[in-house]
Symmetry: C2
């Protein structure tokens, strides 16, 4: 049994981290994909935990060497996902969870669609998203406004996802996430199915 990929997208403030943490006991072992970025670490952020922090030059070397499954530039910084740890985890049969944006989802699906289940996690309304972003008070107003504008665009892409989790009650949303993660593990890729049919007929 080879591993599987679960892509999570959704606006900052949707509650993705909380949901993953709540569900983690019920979804078995997984590898949470850590992004690589050229932006500077914020206070408290650790290399290899929050991100892999690299220089602009290192990132561009990686691009040239084809090391990224997906990458993008956001406000002048690179963000990307290295292919190697993902492939390592998959070959160990693990569920690999990605927290990436809708553009990243498209790229991962295009390259590894056979392994992918995806879920878009969203607060119940745009108003609620704004409320949560202001309440947690970790961002400037201008950044919150930008996040809200992004969310307004991103929500239009929910039809591209296998599932949409509306996070109005955290326990419910966490249960839904666990169900989706466990189903994602059961997805077989076409190589596996082909081998199974050969094995089965003998």
């Amino acid at each position: 049994m080879q591993g599987a990929i679960l892509v999570l997208s959704g606006p900052s403030g949707a509650g993705k981290s909380t949901i993953i943490n709540n569900a983690s006991e019920n979804i078995g072992e997984y590898y949470f994909s850590i992004s690589t970025t050229t932006r500077k670490p914020r206070e408290g952020e650790k290399n290899g935990v929050d991100y892999y922090f690299v220089t602009h030059e290192e990132f561009e070397e990686g691009i040239k060497a084809g090391e990224f499954l997906e990458y993008a530039t956001v406000h002048g910084n690179y963000y990307g996902t290295s292919l190697k740890p993902v492939n390592d985890a998959l070959s160990q049969g693990k569920l690999v969870i990605f927290d990436i944006d809708i553009q990243g989802h498209r790229l991962v699906r295009a390259k590894m669609g056979d392994f992918v289940t995806s879920a878009f996690i969203t607060p119940p309304t745009l108003r609620e998203l704004e409320k949560r972003l202001y309440a947690r008070a970790t961002d400037d107003t201008s950044i919150i406004e930008r996040r809200v504008e992004n969310a307004k665009e991103e929500i239009k892409a929910i039809g591209e996802f296998d599932f949409v989790i509306i996070n109005d009650e955290i326990p419910k949303a966490s249960n839904q996430f666990a169900t989706i993660a466990n189903a994602a593990r059961l997805k077989q890729n076409s190589d596996e199915l082909e081998n199974f049919v050969k094995f089965w007929q003998n």
Copy 2:
């Protein structure tokens, strides 16, 4: 929230009924779609429980009136699924479970794909299928042989299904089925998503 459809296919002898019965406590309320047929009831079979038994003429009236979601002829008898009870159950938000063949799966997916999750349930090997069919001794050798030949063809279509459940251990297979059924409930159809986006943005 509108309902969802879970299509189960797989050879006779795969253990579908056992798996559904085992899982039924963990999958919430569902409507098990009852097929309509023109074949005569076997001993112990009840109308409205095992099948809806109708005459050849009644079935053909139904076809003309567009009452069937899918139907096929097998050994001179009609078998089909009436659309009305399915639509009623869906509009009540229920999970509708179908036990149909790969041809039925194709037809249901073509007509109602937006609602459909599907799983193919199979014994681990063709040998094991034969063994089980002979062990349960409810069919003549000629029927068993025909079932085995059918299974050899049907297994080639497993790539068309969202999930494949290999029934080598009943408790494991039943758990996998429950996970899939619960994930199937979370699938939103495109009308729902469209309405949600409109609601969300206001």
